[in-house]
Every structure is written in C-alpha cells, then in structure tokens.
C-alpha cells in the first residue's frame, strides 16, 4: 500500500484545524452606533449635559488615544496608562468636536487616573473579584475611528502578568482595525458592572487583555480619589451590548480620550 507523503498528513491536520477555527468562530456582532449630534460653535453641548458649564476646548487636530470611563460623578476617570503615555495635555471628548481638558492624577501600573472639572455618571464596580471562565464581558468605548464595542468570553488569568485574558466573540459591525482605541474601555459583566479595564488586544491570539477589578480600586486609592455611589447597572447580553454601549457613551460615562497639541 503506497504511503501518504508526510507533508500531506501535516497539511491535512493544519487545514482541518483552520476549518474548525473558522467554523466555530462566533459572530455576536453589534450594529454600528448612531452618528453623533453635531455641536455648534456657540452651543457645543446641551444645557442638561454635566459639562454644560465646564470649560471646554474646540478639538483642532487632536490625536485620538483611547477610552476612559467615569468612577466619580464629580470628574474622576480611569483609562489605560498607555493612553496617557507621551501625552502632555489629555482631554476627554464630551461633545462632537469639543473636549474637556483633563489632569493626570496618577499613573499606577497599567492604569491612569484622570480628573476633570465636571463629571458624568459613575459606573458601578462588580461585586465578584474575578469573573468565571466562560463568563461574558462587554467592552464599550471608541475604536480610534469612532464608537466601538466588543463582546468577549473570559479565558482566565494571563500567564505571568497580573491581567485577565478575554476571547473576542463579536464586535461592532464594520470594525476591522486593531482595537487600539479601546485601551481604557471598561469591561462590563452581564450585570452591567465594571469587572476590569481593556488594555490591549492580541489579534493573532483572538484575545483582549484587561486589568483585574482590584487593579482599578488600587489605582483610585493611589490617586487618593473616591468612587461615588452609582445608579444600579442595567443587565447586558449579547443581543443588547451595542445599545448598552451607545447608552454609556450618550451619558458620557464612557468617553474618548484625545491628546491636545501642546
């Protein structure tokens, strides 16, 4: 009986694994976010906005850096340390074309704490210290080219680093780029509570690295900042995470971080 060429055996195994990978990939995508309401030069944001009376700056050619989320109604924000690196003047986009200048309170490990003159509704922190393997997580933020969100499954602790690994299973329709802009985005659990912060994605491994919940509270403590008691969170599912992310962006609980020119 003629023996199969050895390369054909290996090629068959690789091809079979590729087919299994493509066949089992989940596509829990969310629809695109609605377009932003354009701001006018004289009335950049609605009078009901928490930033209506805050000093704002027009966004010239600011560089989009990442995402931040509110931990205190009076202007305390968390973002990824990589977002504020090499940025002397960070600012938070609070209306189309307008941003609130932010101060870097402290950089603690992977996390940066920012403060602003006004604040938006704080997000609640998860009660459980760690998610369980297979739990859903939802990242809401800005992809660098506009609003974006990602649905993920919890994989486990990232080996050798004090981080958690999440497997991406869906994202905003049409979002093709790497998820650099989602650095600093909250990772929300199915109860709608923050269970960590997105740090970076690894597209070749199909995963997103995030902080633990404790790392967030440690960073707030290092900055000597307090959380405010948030409103109860709304549950999130694979069917609703797009709308939930839109709602958080609309409330300015999740905002885009930009770097203003010097």
């Amino acid at each position: 009986m003629p023996r199969l060429p050895v390369w054909l055996i290996y090629l068959t195994i690789v091809a079979a694994m590729l087919l299994v990978a493509l066949g089992r990939r989940e596509h829990a995508n969310a629809p695109k976010a609605p377009p932003p309401v354009p701001g006018a030069d004289q009335a950049p944001i609605a009078p009901t906005s928490p930033f209506a009376n805050a000093p704002l700056v027009r966004l010239p050619a600011a560089t989009a850096k990442g995402t931040a989320f509110s931990m205190n109604d009076h202007g305390v924000w968390l973002t990824a340390q990589s977002v504020t690196r090499r940025c002397a003047k960070p600012a938070l986009v609070v209306a189309d074309g307008w941003a609130a200048p932010a101060k870097l309170a402290v950089s603690h490990s992977d996390i940066a704490v920012l403060t602003t003159g006004a604040g938006a509704p704080a997000l609640p922190l998860a009660t459980a210290a760690h998610p369980k393997s297979g739990d859903n997580g939802f990242l809401a933020g800005f992809s660098g080219r506009g609003p974006g969100e990602v649905a993920a499954l919890y994989l486990g602790p990232d080996a050798g680093r004090d981080r958690l690994a999440w497997a991406e299973i869906g994202r905003t329709d049409g979002l093709k780029d790497p998820l650099a802009g989602l650095a600093g985005a909250p990772v929300l659990n199915a109860a709608g509570e923050v269970t960590g912060m997105a740090l970076e994605d690894a597209p070749r491994r199909g995963r997103v690295d995030a902080t633990t919940r404790e790392a967030l509270t440690d960073a707030l403590a290092a900055a000597k900042q307090q959380r405010t008691t948030p409103e109860p969170a709304q549950p999130i599912s694979l069917d609703t995470y797009g709308m939930a992310a839109d709602s958080l962006r609309r409330d300015l609980s999740v905002v885009e971080v930009v770097c203003l020119p010097r």
Binding site: V6, W7, I9, Y10, L11, I13, V14, M17, S133, L155, G156, P157, D158, A159, G160, A165, A202, R204, R205, R207, D209
Partner: protein
C-alpha cells in the same frame, strides 16, 4: 501563611499541569515526526550517523520553541492544548517544506554529511522562531 507561600501553594500545581500538557505535546509531536519521517533519523542515529542527530535535534528544538511560546501566553490547559496541536502541526508542515525546498540536503544528511544537517537544522530553527514570535502576546 505568608503571601509567597500562599502564591506557591496555589500556583505550583497549576504550573505543573500547564508544563505537563506542553511536555506531552512535545513528546507526541516529536514522536510523530520520528515515526513519519522519510529520513528515519532515529534508526540512523542508532547506526552512528551524527548528521541525523543534528537534524533531529533541530526538529525537536524547532517544535519546542513555538510550544514554549504557547505555554508562556496561555491562560488554561485547554488553550495550551488547542494552540499547541495547531502550532506543532504547522511547524512539522513547514519542516517538510524546508526539506523539499533544500533539495539534496536531506539526502546528504542521510549519508552522514554533518554540514548539510547543520544547514537543514538551522533553517528549521529559523522558521520555528518566526512561528513562535507570531504566537507571542
């Protein structure tokens, strides 16, 4: 109990499990290569062929590199197993392509030509390094 001891107590069994899964994959992949290889390196080594030993060493090291990167980045035994099987098969496929591309060198290795075996092993290690880098998080 000190935090160091606590971390060791909870981490050591997990480390053994993860390393064990990875070592098992290395043994299975190297064994599969040894069984399927048309060059019959193991028999040639037994016959005293030093070139075959160099060639097989290149293959085993070339399998260990991407498997080690898989282990370093994986979060669970299942992830080690899935990625490990995939990268081991990919590495073995690429080693076959190298044997085909470097026509004549495998035959010279079979005849005991050590320089030919060194070039062959180097090419396989180079490809393994690239596959390993692609796996790094």
């Amino acid at each position: 109990m000190s935090p160091e001891v606590q971390a060791f107590a909870s981490g050591f069994p997990v480390m053994l499990l993860h390393a064990g899964v990875c070592l098992l994959l290395l043994v299975v992949a190297a064994g599969a290569y040894a069984m399927l290889s048309p060059h019959h390196e193991v028999q040639r080594i037994r016959d005293g062929n030093g070139a075959a030993a160099v060639s097989l060493a290149g293959v085993v090291l070339g399998l260990a590199m991407p498997l080690a990167t898989t282990l370093a980045a994986a979060a669970s035994p299942m992830e080690i197993a899935l990625w490990g099987i995939a990268v081991a098969a990919l590495a073995l496929l690429l080693f076959s392509v190298i044997d085909f591309a470097l026509t004549g060198l495998p035959q010279r290795m079979e005849e005991g030509d050590v320089p030919a075996a060194v070039v062959l092993a180097s090419a396989k290690l180079s490809v393994a390094l690239i596959v390993a880098a692609a796996l790094a998080v």
